[in-house]
């Protein structure tokens, strides 16, 4: 028995040596990786990533983290929230499946965002155990999000397609800039929600893929190499740049999403918790949807 265990361990060790020697980063590919750095014919992604990460990324993240909430704070103080009576007529719009999928994504985001920020401002937190834990949580909580992102994309895809009404919505920014309750002719989702849907879904998938590239380092993607002509290390640089830039959009719109549901429209968050949407809220903010529901006799 012991002999087999020893043999098994030896095989594992040899396999890991072979794996390491075969690595696209430290093995034979190393020459391509070195040539890829700032050479005439290359995309100069090494110097580009270094410059962006050294000078800009952390500051832009700080700007988004402080700027977006500041704008909404001013909005709350000047324009104020929209309040609807939540006592009478309600329509059951989000079933248990919708809510579960949404809540799993929500919890993942609530871990992914703060941990991401702890990594970005790692020197502020002093590095070491805390930041390392944040990095590991950041990776672990990608898994639940990765599981629900496709079902979430499919269940709301039809409602999230843009239409002509959305142009009007953008012209007046959904009526959120005025204190009075204007009737907005939006369907189940307004243009703002649609925008968040696409950033969360497409941006989310981009974040998962680029994050996975960065986590595994040695993934083999012959197809990507062939199409782009980039070496392994350059693909990792692209992943790191994409992950950060997409991060700005996801963070900004996530804060917007939370502000809208928790503060700007008082009590709107309850509709994704209980599944019920309130009549007047739907009538004013999603009039096209309201008419459809009314015709079907659902109010």
């Amino acid at each position: 028995m012991k002999k087999y265990i020893v043999m098994f361990i030896a095989a594992l060790c040899l396999a890991s040596v072979a794996y390491a020697a075969d690595s696209q980063i430290w093995g034979e590919m190393r020459i391509q990786n070195i040539l890829g750095y700032g050479q005439e014919e290359s995309w100069k992604l090494g110097p580009l990533f270094t410059m962006l990460q050294h000078k800009y990324f952390a500051w832009i993240f700080l700007g988004v983290l402080l700027g977006v909430p500041l704008v909404f704070f001013l909005h709350y103080k000047i324009v104020g929230p929209k309040v609807f009576p939540h006592s009478h007529n309600k329509h059951y719009a989000f079933n248990l499946f919708h809510r579960t999928v949404h809540q799993i994504a929500a919890v993942s985001f609530l871990v992914l965002l703060p941990t991401g920020f702890i990594i970005v401002f790692g020197d502020f937190f002093g590095g070491g155990t805390l930041v390392r834990m944040a990095k590991n949580l950041h990776g672990l909580f990608t898994i639940p999000f990765a599981i629900v992102v496709i079902p979430m994309a499919l269940m709301w895809l039809k409602e999230a397609l843009f239409n002509l009404e959305d142009v009007k919505w953008f012209m007046i920014l959904g009526g959120y800039l005025s204190k009075e309750k204007q009737i907005i002719n939006a369907t189940q989702f307004n243009a703002g929600q649609k925008m968040w849907y696409w950033v969360a879904i497409l941006g989310g998938i981009t974040m998962i893929l680029s994050g996975a590239f960065m986590f595994f380092l040695d993934f083999k993607m012959e197809m990507l190499h062939n199409i782009t002509g980039l070496s392994q290390i350059d693909l990792l640089r692209v992943a790191a740049i994409l992950h950060n830039v997409m991060g700005f959009a996801v963070v900004a719109l996530f804060i917007t999403h939370v502000y809208m549901s928790m503060f700007a429209i008082k009590g709107a968050v309850h509709s994704i918790i209980t599944g019920y949407v309130e009549e007047e809220e739907v009538k004013i903010l999603h009039n096209a949807w309201y008419k459809k529901l009314k015709d079907q006799g659902k109010f």
């Binding site: 690595s23 430290w26 070195i34 700032g38 270094t50 050294h54 002093g126 590095g127 930041v131 944040a134």
Partner: protein, 184 residues
């Protein structure tokens, strides 16, 4: 203050891998990590084949130091680029920034998570107490503190791998080029 530099004379490198093996052995590196690596260009093409040994080049404007989100790098007064493994979170940004692929990561965490970054220290250890048990365990031998040259250069049988302050490395190489009349 002089700046410490590595230089590999590719006219002399015979691709024996002694530097790579000696480094891994001296510092008891984990499996799969080689801080120093010998690479060969134009392999097998007569007259063009050339071998050289590379590791961390201890850059003057080290990009790894610029991108590290936890700021774990520090550059000594003599130009040796070192980092703090206890601060490092294993994010890999230094690897993306490095032109030489020097930073490496042992896969020692759960689910294959990257451990703390490992790279050539020019045998100068780390931020811990010089020659302490812990420094040796985390960063390998601190030969510079003992006044000895790094292991890789010490074992180089053809003296291809030069190390020392930039001035003297340059003087030696210039003498060699003048002597053989080519190769600069």
């Amino acid at each position: 203050m002089s700046r410490m530099k590595f230089f590999c004379d590719d006219n002399r490198c015979i691709e024996c891998f002694a530097c790579s093996v000696a480094c891994a052995e001296a510092h008891e590196l984990p499996t799969g990590i080689s801080r120093r690596k010998v690479i060969t260009l134009f392999d097998g093409i007569e007259g063009k084949e050339v071998s050289t040994s590379i590791a961390c080049m201890h850059c003057t404007d080290a990009p790894c130091e610029q991108v590290c989100p936890v700021d774990c790098f520090y550059i000594r007064e003599d130009g040796i680029v070192l980092h703090d493994k206890e601060k490092c979170i294993g994010c890999g940004y230094c690897l993306y920034a490095c032109p030489f692929g020097a930073p490496q990561f042992p896969r020692d965490g759960a689910f294959g998570a990257k451990g703390a970054m490992d790279k050539c220290t020019m045998c100068a250890g780390g931020p811990l107490e010089t020659n302490s048990e812990k420094e040796r365990h985390l960063y390998g031998q601190n030969r510079i503190a003992e006044g000895r040259v790094p292991m890789c250069a010490a074992v180089c049988s053809t003296n291809a791998l030069l190390v020392g302050d930039a001035e003297s490395v340059s003087t030696i190489y210039r003498k060699r080029v003048a002597g053989r009349g080519k190769g600069a």
